[in-house]
Symmetry: C2
Subunit: 819 residues, 2 copies
């Protein structure tokens, strides 16, 4: 057997000799042994003593069922790498595959390199089995603790998405992705089979799905497990795959056939890519895929207490459950474990015997040591961001210029795409969106690249082609999952989406935040680019789409997650959006929500002011309030008006202006918050405002009328722990919506300028002359608005709510910009 | 043409005569006219005056692209109903299909019956066009405002799920489900094609998918739009469908072929069902499906300003955008609208001419008037719930009995299944779960029914068969969506799932709550059974599955939604769970989250106490505190310990016991909250505790240490508005998790009994003698626990955290039950 180094990729022509097969089967047995040993043993790791109850874990938490297939694939991918020098990443979709993947990482030496205490000897083996599914130890999924993993199995359908994200723009990479037949029933996985419509043979790596049909979930058969080979293959073939079936239960036979299938797949992929990269027309590509049918719990106990276990749902978790109490079960476990002949795999010191150790690829070619997968040799190229000054809006006076807030961001992203583009059409930055790039006013990116499709392009198509770096697909799951895989392998990106429908991928955002949180303390894991989600087309401005499109729920989802990895940004205007984007795009290890609407909005800050404002997280906007700047240093205002979000900012500024004009002696402070996490008490979040800073903004005891972009009650939990939180009166989106005008939206949710003025007057420490008159004026405006809407409904006159407010609103802050 | 009443279902053999076709094309033109008129016009609804700018809406918000296909299908389904008497429901998946579906409901008279002001005459036509996409009017999706709709199009992939839910257990129903090629890219839709694996020809109705490939999303082509007919058909066929393709752009031709396809589909379905119901073996069924390729924006402007529009993405929204300002565009609009010959469809009074009116089916056979779809003739059979006394646990002393809390619920559900079963295997109650029914301790249901599959059953399968009424599929999307469709058509059910992965379907729960909220004020809509979601296998007891499985996020998602339709329940034990379940299962128009773990837990209340407790929403548990009952009426306690959730309840009770034993003179009140919404201030939720009741529980000013099941900051927003909320000190799940012990989970998240005691001592008004000693004891216990865990990690000794706490914990409340 020869080990071939990366770079030279000869076709695989040699046969699988009996000696090679025998060795691989021994390596497989060693991996299976370590898998079962992790699940069952706390001591006596090589069974050199008779198995006694105290050697066995008190709680058996691992899952055996999926493991032998994973170890087989690991064995044979190692062989493929040895023979071809392929750079391979393995993504393990099935849940509870952890011990199997960890066994592979231990056998190839990577695990001990990252965790020296789990050494390649008897002491290390003891620790290996001891730590699994134990307090303070490691979990049973193929999670962040396993070197080479970018995917925690059991994440419910995201495996093929993460695999695709890893393959994008990495032309030399082959991602082998095991898809379980349980997860194959999920929505995200079902949709992700459409990958061939998006994967470029020229500039991207390849994804080789291994659909592992072991037939059962926890307690019943899977849909695909009971579907014929013919239908499974037709299902895959119709979506751009060229599947082959490998099925059986006789190890040597299955090994031979899976080996041949892998070699054939690798050869086909190499050939397609070579021809495509030589400029030949290879589309439509039928990408290799493998359908693997092996028994659940393969090589485990066939029957237990007379009941069939191997090949049934009863081997999903542990095939033998009572091994501590039941001597017969324990004897059966001992016999089962010894069937893997651990003494032939490990020497007297517990070291893997040389002929098996030689089966692992070397160095970075080990899948567990892949430099793509976040390990020690993982590298992230900093994103070459241009100078924001080239995109900033020229704001000289706050609230005069009106602009689509996301449009300058689109221009910035265009130039990021230009600066990151490679000759082969790839790069290390991508934009992901459910068909909304132009709609979200990010259309400038199409000056730099197009939308990606591998399907036929027709005349009249708009910026569409096979090397486009904008991935538009009407699935938030796909956008989110692809971006996750892309950033976990060290590249950069942005997922831009309608705010309401970002909730579709909420569970993925949660799981990604958990991954980042765990990765931060995991030895050998390096920082990865942040996951940046732009929530635009927000609740306040989906007046045209109606109530179903009005939902700021993702803010509620992200806010309670681990503070070290989450940030929620509310830039009030375009220049702040640019500054926030710069932070997010150059950031690491965070989930950033950036909430900003795409429509025309008033602009307030120039670039320098925006930089200062965003760096502070929140500021007093002195120009908008009525405090005397000198007196303000020692004297509190009568009331504070605060805003987070673009529409709330406009309403607060309009309210402040009404107060300034009608009650000029009222001391009003206007505060704008851009970094929501600043509100959290010190110690609860790295971005939390210090107590002094918080008091500078909000005082210690003056009432605060707070206009918030999202659900108003999302603010209260952040404030808890700050002084006297009862004084915060938050208005926001209270689930009142419809197809209506932007102004009616803020009225329906009681966040309009008039509501804010009324609340400010009610809460202010004192109300100077003019206050009552202003209150009547505001109430009158609201009554008139309501009358107009009711009238519009019942008598079908002109609907004047689009225009009437302009007549009374301040000059600098006209209320309705979307006529 | 003869109209055939329901009940007689002869095969369709007669040809489509030229006269019939001409009439149907005229009906279609009328529907298209009304669709475009709704999008564009505010006045002059039949164009009896020359089109002037003031006749046109100021903002054009509707979408034309998808509409002509929907009206065509409506026309031809009407014909099918006329000829066969079939009972048909139409589910419209594509977004912005509202005006088209509404046009149909207006033309068949239903809309005017429900909304008399939108009368079948000129005044009604005026109102019809005026109200669309106007403040106070109706939105552009096929939402709750459209009679006969159970699905708001544009809900991102849930159409086929709602259709399936409607068809389950309704053997005479045919659900025609239009699936757009945009939504077909979503995960939920992709997974929902697997319906044939679950749909019984004996007891269920049929779903006829019409995959409408008009080729484009907002700005680019769809994946299926650019996929060959062969691949689209293979994709469907491989999943149990028998697709036929109908494609074209010549109306009469497409009408003829779609009509034939519908007739053929109906005949095939009838035949399969008839044979199956006669006991013949029909499996595997290949269910008819139609692939319909027609141009986007069909019959609209072919080109605008020289650019192609019909048949491209440019007809997605409005084909002519500047009709108010641009006379040429306005003339083109006028010409386009007049091409539908409105004067031949409506008489001088604006009434549909008799020969077209005659094309609608009669009465309940109109799709818009279907008694299945929530309209005035919709009926819900109350669920025949048995007496809870038959399932209640015999609790005589609180905290002695230990039981799996969800198990009695499983026994109750078993008997609900028995009481609702029909001879044909159907019923009006179903259980939906991602393969976790038995795992969640609801296995008793399998004494009444089985898991449902239409795929082959093999020896050794566990309670699996074609007429099972438990739907297990590893997709929260499918479970949630099927249940939504099932309840929206008047039947009852429960979705039981792992708490963390319920987040997968979070966006669906949000959309369903919005639907219920809107339905409550919609004329003609009747109450539907509540959507009941059981969150079990909770964060505190996924110690074996690890951090990815620990997530109470759905609580954060649901809490901010409309108070009238949302409830979140935290039954502390099995008997409370039964009482809560009884309320939820007999409830209407709500989304109920019931959060309770499946593992063994201590039991506290007998059935009568549980009834009282749940009815109150929260109570003082006097037996657990140390207040003197008489003095408590006039005198406040020193500190309040409150809990919501099973694990928090146990920790609070253990903390109270420690306080009672070590600081007996401290006056401790113990409060248990089961209805979380009770915390909201009066007026903010129908379940809110009155101010008096709140004070009875929590006093007005005593500090409260609150142990909460979910993210602790979820409680603060609810409390805002109650007196002095700074005094509430909430502990809960703070995103610290791992594979560990149950006790370590509460320690990691600082919610353990010892943390609660320390917090109570810190917050208490006074600390009598013994307090310092107890604080040291608690701190010592926590230090010892930490030392054990660290030790376990670093030196691999016995991990004693499983057992050590028992040595010091109270007898009645041993801390660790899962050894």
């Amino acid at each position: 057997m020869t080990t071939i180094e990366a770079g030279a990729l000869p076709p695989v022509t040699d046969a699988y000799t009996p000696d090679e097969l025998a060795l691989d089967l021994r390596w497989w047995a060693a991996a299976n042994y370590l898998t079962a040993a992790q699940i069952y043993l706390r001591d006596n790791p090589l069974l050199r003593e008779p198995l006694r109850p105290e050697h066995i874990k008190p709680r058996l938490l691992g899952h055996w069922g999926t493991s032998p297939g994973l170890t087989m694939l690991h064995t044979l991918l190692n062989r493929l790498i040895r023979r071809t020098g392929s750079q391979v990443l393995m993504v393990t979709g099935p849940g509870h595959g952890g011990p199997a993947v960890l066994a592979g990482a231990y056998l190839d030496g990577t695990y001990s390199e990252v965790h020296p205490a789990v050494s390649p000897d008897l002491a290390g083996l003891h620790r290996l089995v001891r730590q699994f599914s134990t307090p303070g130890g490691v979990s049973s999924h193929a999670g962040v603790h396993i070197p080479g993993s970018i995917h925690e199995g059991g994440e419910l359908g995201y495996a093929l998405l993460h695999a695709a994200g890893a393959a994008f723009d990495d032309p030399d990479l082959l991602v082998a992705c095991v898809v379980g037949d349980g997860e194959a029933e999920t929505g995200p996985l079902a949709a992700s089979w459409r990958l061939p419509a998006f994967l470029s043979p020229e500039r991207d790596g390849a994804v080789l799905p291994v659909l592992h049909l072991n037939g059962y979930k926890i307690s019943g058969p899977t849909v695909l497990g009971r579907t014929s080979d013919e239908d499974v293959c037709a299902f895959l073939a119709s979506q751009g795959w060229a599947p082959v079936v490998v099925a059986g239960d006789e190890p040597a036979d299955v090994f031979r056939r899976l080996d041949a299938a892998l070699a054939e797949a690798q050869a086909t992929i190499s050939d397609v890519q070579r021809r495509a990269r030589a400029g030949m027309d290879v589309r439509p590509v039928a990408w290799p895929a493998i359908v693997l049918r092996t028994p659940k719990g393969w090589t485990g106990p066939e029957t237990v207490d007379g009941v069939p276990v191997e090949g049934t749902q009863r081997s999903h978790q542990v095939p033998l459950a009572h091994v501590r109490d039941d001597a017969a079960h324990r004897a059966q476990l001992s016999e089962w474990l010894r069937s893997y002949r651990p003494d032939e795999a490990f020497d007297a010191d517990g070291r893997l015997v040389p002929e098996l150790a030689a089966l692992s690829p070397r160095g970075d070619l080990r899948m567990s040591a892949s430099p793509r997968a976040g390990g020690p040799r993982f590298r992230v190229r900093p994103l070459p961001l241009p100078d924001l000054a080239d995109y900033a809006l020229p704001v000289t006076t706050p609230g005069v210029l009106r602009h689509e807030t996301t449009r300058p961001l689109g221009e910035l992203l265009r130039d990021v795409l230009v600066r990151t583009s490679r000759a082969d059409g790839g790069g290390d930055f991508r934009l992901f969106s459910p068909d909304e790039t132009a709609s979200n006013r990010l259309g400038a990116v199409f000056e730099a690249t197009g939308r990606c499709t591998q399907l036929p392009v027709r005349p009249g198509d708009d910026h569409l082609g096979p090397q486009g770096r904008v991935l538009e697909v009407l699935s938030e799951h796909l956008c989110e999952g692809w971006l996750e895989g892309y950033t976990l392998t060290g590249r950069h990106g942005l997922f831009a989406t309608y705010e309401a429908f970002a909730m579709v991928a909420a569970s993925m955002v949660v799981q990604h935040a958990k991954w980042l949180q765990m990765a931060a303390t995991e030895p050998g894991r390096s920082p990865v680019p942040s996951l940046n989600v732009l929530l635009t087309s927000t609740c306040w401005r989906n007046d045209h789409n109606g109530f179903s499109h009005q939902g700021p729920g993702l803010i509620d989802t992200v806010a309670p997650l681990a503070p070290d990895v989450t940030r929620i940004w509310f830039p009030p205007d375009a220049n702040c959006t640019l500054v926030v984007a710069e932070r997010c795009l150059s950031g690491r290890d965070q989930v950033n929500l950036v909430v900003v609407d795409k429509q025309q909005h008033l602009q307030y800050l120039d670039l320098d002011q925006a930089r200062t404002h965003v760096a502070a997280g929140g500021s007093v906007w002195e120009w908008a309030g009525t405090e005397d700047p000198v007196r303000a240093r020692t004297e509190d205002p009568d009331v504070v008006l605060a805003a987070a979000g673009d529409v709330p900012t406009m309403e607060v500024l309009a309210a402040a202006q009404l107060l300034r004009e009608h009650v000029p002696h009222l001391r009003v402070r206007v505060v704008n918050v851009v970094d929501l996490m600043g509100l959290l008490p010190p110690g609860e979040h790295p971005a939390a405002f210090t107590a002094e800073r918080f008091a500078d903004l909000f005082t210690d005891d003056v009432d605060v009328v707070f206009a918030f972009h999202g659900h108003p009650r999302a603010v209260h939990p952040l404030l808890h722990g700050r002084p006297d939180v009862d004084r915060f009166h938050v208005r926001g989106f209270t689930e009142h919506g419809s197809t209506t005008t932007p102004f009616d939206m803020v009225v329906l949710n009681r966040m309009s300028r008039y509501h804010l003025v009324l609340e400010a007057l009610r809460r202010s420490r004192r109300v100077p002359e003019g206050g009552d008159r202003l209150a009547r004026l505001c109430q009158d405006q609201l009554d008139r608005h309501r009358a107009h809407v009711v009238e519009a409904l019942e008598d079908l006159p002109e609907v004047r709510s689009w225009t009437w407010t302009d007549r009374t609103s301040p000059d600098r802050l006209p209320s309705q910009e979307n006529r």
